[in-house]
């Protein structure tokens, strides 16, 4: 490798292979247009090409690929949800993730760590037992453990949390993992591109053209593209896209902030989450602690991060790990989370023919990247949503058939 680097350094050309072609001019029309070059949009493009042979597809990204919430989450993958529908769906995602490095021929640093959701109160313990039973019923490895087992897995953790919030137990979830999130976007982009999908960065959608309730094209910063199938996979920008087709949704945007510490030698094997302390933490493969918190308390369309957030988060982290008090925070950021009232996504068809929605990913989108891509590709190819995502349909709100996942959100929101 050092020799290879030297060769690249001395070469006047750029011999490193590109992950995907540098597309600049879109064609006049495509079989499908995907708005949003994050993990979800690129995965949908990949599975459209791979599973259904639909390769005349454009992915339009207003920034650069993976630069939105795909690159802003805390990379946790898990399936220990509360509803059977949710557990089945996220379990299918975990299974796809497990083989994804090989499938995409790119090392995603997918690392199965085990995942503890700490409970500091009796009511939290009750939710953990509930989730464990639903998980077991569906065949997902989750069970309730006591403080001794948590201490054994993570001896550095102060079980009393500095006396502030003693830990009574936890929901242990064996398949809980972390992955390199930007590589997930690049891997899907690379393979989708190889099969013919065209990816346009710095290309913004400015309008969606409909005729008689059907999609006929999109206006973009690079001109008009005609198509009769459009997928919106834009997370925090969803309300701006749905406004273009006069579609009402329950989605409200709240910032979600996260930060990383300076790198340390590996000491934290597991992923730890505390709902009461509003903290989730894992150690990345380069040694940084990746730490996330709860949503910011009010609607705000911005990715700016705040001192309030770091102060709150580090207070709670040092309750759990007092020895971290001298460790520096080196980066902090925010993503725009598209929150739904039941903390479940909104996926599938909409009242506008040819307009498909993959949204409402709030604080739980990264883990669903492969399965959302696969199921949205099926929805677009067959113009019918598969059973796996039926309980995430937009019309569930009018039917009062919500899919209540709030109890499985990583931290109390």
């Amino acid at each position: 490798m050092p020799l290879g680097l030297l060769k690249y350094g001395l070469s006047s050309e750029h011999p490193a292979p590109r992950f995907f072609r540098d597309c600049t001019e879109p064609k006049k029309s495509y079989d499908a247009v995907i708005i949003g070059g994050g993990g979800h949009g690129l995965a949908a493009a990949y599975y459209l090409a791979k599973d259904y042979g639909i390769t005349n597809v454009a992915v339009l990204e207003k920034g650069y690929i993976g630069g939105g919430n795909t690159g802003r989450n805390t990379t946790i993958v898990r399936s220990n949800y509360l509803t059977p529908e949710g557990v089945n769906f996220y379990d299918a995602s975990v299974k796809l993730y497990e083989d994804l490095s090989e499938e995409l021929d790119l090392n995603l640093f997918y690392s199965t760590r085990g995942h503890f959701t700490l409970a500091h109160t009796e009511s939290a313990m009750r939710t953990m037992r509930w989730r464990a039973e639903v998980n077991k019923h569906v065949g997902v490895e989750s069970y309730v453990v006591g403080p001794e087992e948590i201490s054994k897995a993570c001896p550095q953790l102060d079980i009393s949390c500095s006396g502030q919030a003693p830990i009574l137990g936890a929901l242990y979830h064996a398949p809980g993992s972390v992955a390199r999130h930007d590589a997930v976007a690049w891997g899907y982009a690379k393979e989708a591109d190889r099969m013919g999908v065209e990816i346009f960065q710095m290309t913004e959608v400015t309008g969606i053209d409909t005729k008689g309730g059907k999609v006929v094209g999109v206006n973009t910063s690079k001109g008009y593209i005609s198509t009769n199938r459009v997928l919106s996979a834009v997370a925090g920008f969803t309300p701006r896209i749905t406004e273009m087709v006069d579609l009402d949704t329950p989605i409200v945007i709240h910032p979600l902030q996260a930060c990383v510490s300076e790198p340390m030698k590996p000491w934290l094997d597991t992923i730890l989450v505390s709902g009461s302390l509003h903290v989730y933490v894992s150690q990345s493969s380069r040694g940084e602690l990746v730490m996330g918190s709860s949503l910011d308390p009010y609607e705000f369309h911005s990715t700016r991060s705040s001192l309030d957030f770091v102060e709150g988060l580090t207070t709670h982290i040092t309750d759990m790990f007092p020895f971290l008090s001298n460790v520096k925070v080196v980066r902090q950021w925010a993503g725009m989370a598209d929150i739904t009232p039941d903390f479940a996504p909104i996926m599938g068809k909409t009242p506008v023919e040819g307009f498909y929605l993959d949204a409402g990913w709030g604080t739980w989108g990264f883990k669903a990247t492969p399965i959302s891509g696969k199921t949205m590709a099926e929805t677009i190819a067959k113009d019918m949503a598969p059973d796996l995502i039926k309980s995430f349909r937009l019309s569930r709100f009018e039917d009062y058939e919500l899919t209540g996942e709030k109890g499985a959100a990583s931290v109390g929101h």
Binding site: T238, P239, R240, T242, E243, D248, T249, P250, I251, V252, I253, P297, Y298, E299, F300, H301, S302, D308, D338, P341, F397, E398, Y400
Partner: protein, 87 residues
């Protein structure tokens, strides 16, 4: 520290306030259709812009209206409901 102006207590730290969501008009439940009611219960105007919002000053128990740009977080004015003109 972020600040917000309570129409009763003046400028106070943001930590004293709670967000109550966008101000919305309730349709008449006796005359509206089921889908209008479902839309009122669930759907929200999620697009960014200047919105009329409910805010609550917790120490004094005051609910009031703030007009805030959800893109810039800039509050243009705050007033008690129904006292918009007086301000």
């Amino acid at each position: 520290m972020k600040l917000l102006e309570c129409p009763v207590n003046g400028i106070r730290p943001m930590s004293e306030f709670t967000y109550g969501g966008e101000y919305r008009n309730m349709p008449n439940p006796d005359t509206c259709s089921d889908s209008e009611w479902a839309a009122y219960v669930h759907y929200r105007n999620g697009a960014p812009g200047v919105k009329k919002e409910w805010w609550y000053h917790a120490p004094s128990g005051t609910w009031f209206i703030a007009e805030r740009n959800t893109m810039t977080d800039k509050v243009s004015r705050t007033y008690l409901l129904g006292q918009e003109e007086a301000k």
